[in-house]
């Protein structure tokens, strides 16, 4: 863990020294940098999720066709992924990479804002740039809250309550905004399983992050809020955010496909946001 934690602690300390000894600003800038660095992964995750969503009609057909042959089903599913150049783990990998970043940042905040002797001793071995030790110990108080500790409700201030609420709200909004458009229901009118799971995640994840905000340091809540907000802005800048849909309102009508799926073999398929296939004749014409 040190190989990721030490650079994080050093960067956080450097930002603190650059931004007028303001730890909150340092965490926000740190978050921006992390989001920029992981942007290719985030974009890939979004593309993968949307593509997987739009392949659902095809997947359902395969499931129906090979319902008694699981091995063949798996082979055909992989063939379909290969055909459209989709990595089935593409949606998970960025999330998996985010997790150690989140853990490392939590640790980095705790270590950088050392409040006990052993923490401070530990910090001395983590700063990779020698001159940074002049800013130690760093100011860990912000609006009456200790950034390295969990919110303290005994203080009587509204902020310890407001922060977890903001974490829940921004996590929820980010999830809603970045979630691909829903696929049409099955023939039997039931909701797709993957979509049902996504919706469950959309409910549970904000609550889970809210729990983290209550249990972990205030500094981590700042990271969550900043990270979620930046994620929403990123998605909006990519032109894919639909806030009307996020709030359960009728989505904006658009002909623009959510993602352009291109078969690597015979034909090009555009799948619009409502999940309907629009095969083009380009590949066929080329054959003629």
């Amino acid at each position: 863990m040190d190989f990721i934690l030490n650079p994080f602690v050093t960067l956080l300390t450097f930002l603190y020294s650059v931004f007028n000894h303001d730890m909150v600003l340092a965490i926000v800038v740190f978050t921006v940098l992390i989001r920029l660095l992981t942007f290719p992964l985030t974009a890939q995750q979004q593309r993968s999720s949307a593509a997987m969503q739009q392949l659902q009609p095809e997947m359902k057909k395969l499931q129906e066709r090979y319902k008694n042959d699981r091995e063949k089903l798996a082979q055909e599913q992989m063939r379909l992924y290969r055909e459209y150049g989709i990595n089935p783990l593409g949606g998970c990998l960025p999330l998996i990479i985010q997790f150690p970043i989140f853990i490392a940042l939590y640790e980095a905040i705790i270590h950088a804002l050392a409040t006990t002797p052993l923490q401070l001793l530990d910090l001395s071995g983590r700063l990779l740039v020698p001159g940074l030790s002049t800013v130690v110990p760093m100011d860990n108080m912000w609006l009456g809250m200790n950034l390295s500790l969990a919110p303290n409700f005994a203080s009587g201030s509204i902020l310890p309550i407001l922060l977890p609420v903001l974490v829940v709200a921004t996590t929820w909004l980010q999830f809603r905004v970045t979630m691909p458009p829903p696929a049409p229901p099955n023939a039997d009118g039931k909701q797709d399983q993957a979509q049902a799971m996504s919706q469950s995640m959309g409910t549970i994840m904000p609550l889970m992050y809210g729990f983290f905000a209550l249990s972990f340091s205030v500094g981590l809540s700042i990271y969550f809020i900043a990270s979620n907000t930046i994620g929403i802005i990123q998605y909006a800048l990519m032109g894919k955010a639909d806030f009307r849909r996020a709030f359960g309102l009728k989505p904006k009508p658009t002909d623009k496909p959510a993602v352009k799926l291109e078969s690597r073999t015979s034909k090009t398929t555009k799948v619009s946001s409502n999940g309907k296939e629009k095969p083009t004749q380009k590949a066929d014409k080329a054959k003629e």
């Binding site: 705790i110 052993l118 001395s124 071995g125 030790s133 002049t134 110990p137 799971m197």
Partner: protein, 396 residues
């Protein structure tokens, strides 16, 4: 089916939440033990307890009532002299050694903003509400005839009237930027001046009675100062180390820097002064012998002794220097050139200052008490000359 899949997702997320919560509750509040010799007994403050240990055999001493009878628990077993405070769902931690305020009472300062009065005979804390101080306590409090000075790691220093500890502080001193004070203050020989080393890079001289600032070292000490300054024998100079990788010689009269020496890493332990020699340690495992020439601190030798940090002040006895390290070893060095004579392993990092105990009674030769951060070996006793291990507390 969909219901069970959803349940599985919830299960996985719940597991992550529980794991994360477990991570959040990892102890983030630890320090090394603090030892002191009190009435020929070792007082050890370690994590969540204060205990009295017999220096001759390393066994916990027993708790007595006012009549001097050993106290027993419900099963008839003799109770150890051990103080732990859990009150209002808070477990209090003691990183500093207790001080005796009268013939019946010890005062123990807890990290969690509290002072507790401990009965000297029984180790019982009569009032677990404690006396609230306006900050966390990491540095040892200092007791003088009139005051108890308590350094606060996230504020400054408060001076309490030692006869009325529960009364509001007589005075409070806030260092710049609330960086806090992690070191025990130092009082001048005449008791009029209190020297406070602050994490805000400064050394302050305060009027010990009023807390008014007499002077602040006019030059930034280039880093936080976490150790108590020490006087030379004739009290004409103060020596202090800083996180700016420096050892300073400072005038006690006006705070001017007389001399300085650059080290390889943070200096956390107070220097040890013997005659015109100043011995210091740093967190890269170096030990330094510096000669005070009056206007300079001249390096006599600098030795890389340990593979881990040396946080403590070096203990110097004649031609021998003893230091402990975060690499879990205790080193005996030659004071002449710093070469390692021998070393002894311990079960945990050795960060606290060494407690020397002279030969007396059943202790036939001088011994040193080393405190490690391992709960399984909170104290180890070695003979000073040969490093023979005598006992460990708690005994295995």
């Amino acid at each position: 089916m969909a219901f069970f899949r959803r349940l599985r997702v919830i299960g996985v997320l719940a597991a992550i939440t529980v794991l994360a919560a477990a991570c959040a509750s990892l102890p983030a509040d630890s320090s090394w033990g603090s030892t002191s010799l009190f009435d020929s007994k070792i007082l050890l403050a370690f994590s969540d307890h204060v205990v009295e240990v017999d220096p001759s055999n390393g066994l916990a001493l027993k708790s007595h009532d006012a009549s001097g009878t050993v106290r027993n628990d419900d099963t008839g077993k003799a109770l150890d002299w051990l103080t732990q405070v859990n009150a209002n769902n808070v477990t209090y931690h003691f990183y500093t050694h207790p001080v005796q305020t009268d013939d019946k009472t010890l005062i123990a300062a807890a990290y969690e903003n509290k002072l507790f009065q401990i009965d000297l005979n029984s180790s019982v804390v009569a009032d677990t509400t404690g006396i609230t101080v306006p900050g966390n306590v990491v540095g040892d409090p200092l007791l003088t005839d009139k005051f108890l000075y308590v350094p606060l790691s996230n504020a400054g220093v408060v001076a309490l009237d030692r006869s009325k500890l529960a009364s509001p502080p007589v005075w409070t001193f806030d260092a710049d930027g609330n960086k806090g004070v992690w070191a025990q203050p130092l009082v001048s020989a005449d008791g009029s001046t209190l020297y406070v080393a602050s994490m805000d890079h400064n050394l302050y001289a305060l009027d010990a009675a009023t807390g008014n600032q007499k002077w602040k070292a006019p030059v930034d000490l280039e880093g936080a100062v976490a150790s108590t300054p020490v006087f030379n024998a004739d009290k004409t100079a103060l020596y202090v180390g800083s996180f700016g990788n420096k050892v300073f010689k400072i005038s006690p009269d006006d705070g001017s820097i007389i001399a300085q020496y650059s080290t390889n890493n943070w200096v956390w332990g107070s220097p040890t002064v013997v005659g015109d020699m100043v011995y210091a340690t740093d967190l890269s495992g170096y030990v330094y012998a510096l000669q005070d020439t009056g206007s300079a601190l001249k390096e006599v030798w600098a030795q890389k002794v340990a593979n881990g940090a040396i946080r403590m002040s070096p203990y110097v006895s004649g031609d021998t220097i003893v230091v402990g390290s975060a690499d879990q070893n205790v080193y005996w060095l030659s004071a002449k050139d710093g070469s390692t004579t021998f070393s002894r392993p311990t079960q945990g990092q050795v960060l606290a200052n060494i407690l020397p105990i002279p030969a007396s009674g059943s202790i036939t030769e001088p011994i040193i008490i080393v405190s490690t951060i391992a709960p399984s070996q909170q104290l180890v006793a070695f003979t000073l000359t040969k490093g023979t291990s005598l006992w460990a507390y708690p005994s295995s």
